[in-house]
């Protein structure tokens, strides 16, 4: 099986630990992922802010880079949702046939990380060890965009040493929403404050999610408040083992 890692521009640029964790985790499970070097950004920010032409250009680049693989693994519910939900619409309205063909080839083979682990590899115990109190935030696009369901929690429950605590109001948006956080900074901050309060109420030491952009948002406020709660991408928890450190 030829597997491509679509690491996403946010992880590539700001959270390389997550990318490394995915590579190591997959390797531990016997999968050597390829990193198609031409990839950059899926175009979600442009699409969702109303820059459709730029989004189409980036979508075309992305499918060109990712086509031909048996599976594309994306460690971001949001970018996976962009590819699966919005690419077909963009391709349809662009009227460019090669683009539409590439989208039709790539979209059904695109998996968010936990989907790939649970549905394709069929594993729920990835052999991780993480002796910390953790709460999980199911980000909007993971939950309502691509319907990850309880895959992430199923994986987390198998992690040895973990103390998993439920997050009250988990299904509510953290207020990130890409450029929403800038354009509607006040409402965004109000939403984030409620999310932060819910996280603190759990007494967790780690907040985990399948999306680093939401974690960057919530983590940014947790950090500003000197709350002492750290945020971690799910992949990094699943990758950590008794012998090696997190890094």
């Amino acid at each position: 099986m030829r597997v491509a890692l679509f690491v996403t521009c946010v992880n590539d640029t700001l959270f390389p630990d997550t990318g490394r964790a995915v590579v190591r985790l997959l390797r531990r499970l016997g999968v050597e992922a390829d990193f198609p070097r031409a990839q950059t950004c899926c175009g979600q920010m442009h699409a969702n802010t109303g820059y459709r032409d730029e989004a189409v250009r980036l979508a075309r680049r992305s499918v060109a880079a990712l086509r031909g693989y048996d599976a594309v693994v994306v460690p971001s519910g949001s970018c996976a949702a962009m590819i699966r939900e919005q690419y077909p619409k963009l391709a349809g309205s662009s009227g460019v046939t090669p683009f539409a063909d590439a989208v039709a080839q790539v979209v059904p083979r695109t998996y968010e990380l936990t989907e790939f682990l649970v549905d394709v590899l069929g594993v729920t115990d990835v052999g991780a060890y993480f002796p910390h109190r953790v709460t999980y935030h199911p980000t909007c696009h993971s939950l309502r965009g691509i319907h990850l369901g309880d895959r992430p929690l199923t994986l987390l429950r198998q992690v040895r040493g973990i103390e998993l605590v439920p997050l009250p109001g988990a299904e509510e948006c953290c207020g990130f929403g890409g450029t929403f956080a800038l354009k509607n900074a006040d409402v965004s901050a109000a939403m984030c404050a409620d999310k932060v309060r819910a996280v603190l109420d759990t007494g967790a030491e780690v907040l985990c999610a399948a999306d680093n952009s939401c974690l960057m948002h919530i983590g940014g406020m947790l950090g500003r408040q000197k709350s002492g709660v750290r945020v971690m991408h799910l992949a990094e928890i699943l990758c950590s083992a008794e012998t090696a450190g997190v890094r």
Binding site: D12, R20, N48, C140, F180, A181, M191
Partner: protein, 471 residues
């Protein structure tokens, strides 16, 4: 084209209205409490219906089919209503509808009318228009009454006074009821039952003596000419049955093809809106019922423009249940007034700019009044994909130049992976120089949140250096 009026003047952009609202602790508390109550109720009665997904799909399809054959169904409706003794009027815009209604009321010789809560008449500013003709319209729905007495504006589709709590309502009643009719009882408390009782007493006389009523309708059945109104308090029944003349102002998208279709919508609507298995009262009547004089005013007011839009058209499926408002995290914090339209919340964010256009700063800001979290789509009983319509509207909006420049720059960087890599390396070298507070619009982030630390090495450089961790 003239600008469609939606019951409120378009003023400041949404973010500025919202910024003020998020600081209003009373408003935040009231909205939080109310939306959470109703969310839980809706969730429990929806979970109880084993065929909810199938009802929702049928609701979506029936509405979509109706819209796609709207001319045919409107004509059929007109014929059926006329055959049953009613009269049908067509209003291309709000001003025409107001003229028609004022003329009909004047013809009765009356100067007072009672009203059942109706979004369509709010949308066209009917009460204000009637007043210019010397006709006073009395709102009879409890929440509408609160808004009218308080000289306030509605902030929710179903519960226009959702932004008010019981203590505020008590104050409004005690102070203003006397100006509109029977005063509030001297010893009025803020117990909701006492407040409801005060409204009952205040309106009782008026119901018994007023000769003309104005309503909307939740559904209009083309096949039979039947109008359907769902309500809770009985004020609707009072208005629909007691007066001699009944005038219903109904948006053209409210038509349903067949009587049978009610089996779907009488399940979808109550469970989605008030979170009940069934609302206390549903009235249906066909034409001139029980000797009444009945007028149906069919209202376009921008709807046909929405109908022409391939993506935006689905907004016309809306049955005004308000489930999307109740579940919306942005609505919960910004409140309904921030949307500057009688249609607030997610549905307002897609409907208002389509009806009114995107000329004003406010209307251009509405499609952005969402984090695209998708909660509205999930609860919508007719499956309106609100996030997709928002994104589509954003693509048509005029964007501010600094944003255009930023987006173009980002697009240029992402155009070539080499450009991205070079930028990442520069960022890695300059990582210590990133300020704690960012300037301009980016400051919206750093006002309340830290920035993530820029890593020394990007993922792609790590991959190259270590051959994907194999070296």
């Amino acid at each position: 084209m003239s600008v469609t009026f939606l019951g409120m003047p378009a003023t400041r952009p949404f973010p500025r209205n919202a910024a003020r609202a998020v600081r209003d602790s009373q408003l935040r508390f009231n909205l939080r409490k109310a939306t959470r109550t109703i969310r839980a109720r809706r969730a429990s009665v929806v979970a109880e219906a084993p065929d909810w997904a199938e009802l929702r799909e049928a609701g979506r399809a029936i509405k979509e089919h109706t819209l796609r054959n709207l001319d045919r169904y409107l004509i059929q409706l007109e014929e059926a209503v006329t055959a049953a003794g009613g009269r049908v009027h067509w209003a291309a815009d709000g001003a025409e509808a107001n003229r028609i209604v004022a003329g009909l009321v004047k013809a009765t010789g009356e100067t007072e009318v009672v009203k059942v809560k109706s979004m369509a008449t709010q949308e066209i500013g009917l009460n204000e228009a009637l007043l210019e003709h010397g006709i006073t319209a009395y709102e009879t729905d409890l929440a509408e009454l609160i808004v009218q007495l308080g000289d306030d504006r509605p902030s929710h589709i179903l519960v226009p006074a959702i932004h008010r709590n019981r203590a505020e309502i008590r104050e409004i009643f005690a102070e203003h009821m006397s100006g509109w009719g029977r005063p509030a009882p001297e010893d009025l408390t803020d117990d909701p039952a006492a407040l409801a009782e005060a409204a009952r007493l205040h309106l009782r006389e008026r119901f018994l003596k007023t000769k003309v009523a104005i309503s909307g309708a939740n559904f209009a059945i083309a096949e039979t000419g039947t109008m359907v109104v769902l309500e809770s308090e009985g004020n609707g029944r009072m208005c629909l049955t007691l007066p001699r003349t009944l005038i219903s102002v109904v948006g053209i998208e409210k038509v349903l093809p067949t009587w049978r279709d009610l089996e779907v919508f009488l399940q979808l609507l109550p469970r989605s809106s008030t979170g009940e298995r069934m609302n206390p009262y549903t009235s249906t009547w066909t034409g001139a019922a029980e000797g009444q004089e009945f007028h149906l005013v069919l209202l376009d007011n921008g709807r046909t423009g929405v109908l022409a839009d391939e993506v935006g058209r689905q907004a016309l499926r809306c049955i005004r249940c308000s489930a999307c408002l109740n579940v919306c995290p942005v609505y919960e914090r910004a409140g309904g007034h921030a949307y500057g339209s009688v249609y607030p919340g997610p549905i307002g964010a897609i409907l208002t700019p389509q009806l009114r256009g995107m000329e004003s700063e406010l209307d251009r800001s509405l499609p952005y009044a969402s984090s695209l979290c998708g909660a509205c789509y999930e609860v919508c009983p007719v499956a309106i994909d609100i996030p997709s319509v928002l994104v589509d509207l954003r693509a048509r909006a005029r964007h501010p130049w600094p944003e255009r420049a930023g987006m173009a720059a980002a697009g240029w960087v992402f155009e070539r992976s080499g450009r991205l890599a070079r930028l990442q390396r520069a960022g890695g070298r300059l990582r210590r120089l990133v300020p704690r507070r960012l300037p301009g619009p980016l400051g919206g982030w750093t006002d309340t949140r830290d920035l993530p630390e820029v890593p020394r090495e990007s993922f792609r450089d790590w991959w190259d250096r270590t051959d994907g961790g194999r070296r």
